[in-house]
Amino acid sequence: MLNTAGLSLDQAPPIRVPFSFFLAAPFFVFLAGALLLWQGESALLTRWSPSALALTHLIALGFLTQVMLGALFQMLPVLIGARVPGANWIAPLVQGCLILGTLALAVGLQWGGAVWLSLGGGALAIGLAAFMGAAGIALVHGRGALRTLQAMRLALFGLLMTLLLGVWLVAGLVGVPVDGLTAWVDLHLGWALLGWVGMLILGVGYQVVPMFHVTPAYPAWLARPAAWVILSGLLLATAATLMGWGGLAVWGFGSAVGVLAVFALVTLDRQRQRERPRIDVTLLYWWSAMLSALLAAVVWLSGGRAELVGVLVLIGVGLGLPSGMLFKIMPFLSWFHLQHRQVAARRFDVRLPHMQAFIPERWARVQFGLHLSALLALTLATTWPETVWLTPLGALMMMSAAALLSWLQLGCYRRHLQIGRRFLTSCAR
C-alpha cells in the first residue's frame, strides 16, 4: 500500500537546470565534427590517434554525459519519486566542471601537455564526484520502479569506475609509471560503454520505452538479471586485468556485450508491439541506436575493426539515443512546468499548447536524417579508409545535425518562455 506526500516542483530544479545541460550539449558535437573535418580520415585510422581520443571524449562527455546528467537532475523525481538534493546549486558546479574538464581533456589528448590533461582530469573528477554524491542520495531514497533503480544505481557505480580508471590513465599520460597501459584503456572503455552508458540505457529504457511508446513492459527474465550480469562481467574483466589475464577479461566484456545485445533485440520487439502505429522521430532514433548496438556487438564478437565498433557505439548509440530522447524530454518538461505554473496560479485562461507544438516533428525528422547520414558516412569511412571523401562528408553531416538540433532546442525554450510571459501578463490583469 502506498500513500505519498508527492513532489513539489517548487523545490525541484527550475527548468533552466536541465535545459542548461541540454542546450550546451550540441556545441560539443559541433566541435567534434569540426575536429574530424580538420583531421580528415587519419582520425579514424586507429583508435590510438590523438584525434580519435579527443573525439571520443568530446562526444562521450560533452554530449552524452552532459545530456544524461541534465535529464537525471529533473527526471529522477518523475521516474523514482526522489529529488536530487541541492540540485539548484550543485547542477551549475557539475556543469561548469564537466564543460571545463571535457575541453581541457580534449586539448590535452589532441596536442599533449600535462597541464591540460591534469586540468581536465581534475575538473571532471570534481564535477562527476559532486553529481554522484547528489544523485546517489536520491537513488538511495528512491522507491518504486525497482529494475530502473537497480540499473541506475549500478550505472552510477559504472561512472565511478570509469572516472577512477580515467584519472589513473591521465596519471599514466603525465608521467606516473603505469604498466600495461592498453589493458587499462580497454578496462576504462569497458566500464564507460558497458557500465555507465549501457546500464543507464537499461535503466532509462525500462521506463521510457513502455511509457512514451505504450509498449508492453520489459520481460522479467531480462530485467531481473541484466544489470547484475553486466556488473559481474565487468568485475571479472577488472580482476582479470589486475592479474594480467587478457583472455579472461575478454570473456567478462563479452558477457556484458551479450546482455546489451539481447536488450537491444527485446527493445525492438517491444516497440514492434506498441499501441499506436505512429512512427515519431524518437522511435527512429531508438531503432537506429539499437541496430547500431547490435551491429557493433557482431563486429566486436567477430574480431572486426575497433574503429568501426567505436563509430557505431559512439555515433549510433552515444549520439543517437540522447538526441532522440531530447525530442521527447524537452517538450515534456516545457509542457509540464507550464502546466504546474498554470495550476499554481490558477490562471486557466492561458491555453497551453500541445506537447508536440514545442518542437516541429517535420524539422526533427530532417535532423534525424542528417544524423543518419553522418552515421552511415562515418561507418563506411571506417570500413573503407581509402575512400578519403567519406570522413569530411560525415563530419559536415554531424556538424549540420548538431546545428539543427541546437536550433530546435532554442525554439522549444523560446516557446516555453513566451507562454510563461503570457502567464505573467494574465496574472497582472
Partner: protein, 75 residues
C-alpha cells in the same frame, strides 16, 4: 480515508502516452462534481500528479505495484 459516496468515476489511462494521462485526469477532475470520487487506473505511479492534486485541494490514495496502479482521488 475518503468519504463514503456512491459517485465514483473510472478513468483508465494505461494506454495513453505522456502527457495525456495527466491531461485527462485534470480535465476529468475539472468537470467532476465536488462530492464525487475519481478512480484512475495507471501503469505507473504518477509522481508528478500528486503536487498538482494538492495545489488543487484534492486528496488521493494510491495502491498497486509494477505495471498496475489505482489512484483514488477525492476533494
Amino acid at each position: 480515508m475518503s468519504p463514503e459516496t456512491d459517485a465514483t468515476l473510472e478513468l483508465d489511462v494505461r494506454r495513453l502516452e505522456p502527457p495525456e494521462p495527466l491531461e485527462r485526469i485534470l480535465d476529468t477532475l475539472a468537470d467532476m462534481p465536488r462530492d464525487a470520487r475519481l478512480r484512475v487506473v495507471h501503469r505507473r505511479e504518477p509522481f508528478p500528479l500528486y503536487d498538482l492534486l494538492r495545489r488543487l485541494g484534492y486528496q488521493w490514495h494510491t495502491e498497486g505495484a509494477d505495471e498496475y496502479f489505482e489512484i483514488l482521488i477525492w476533494s
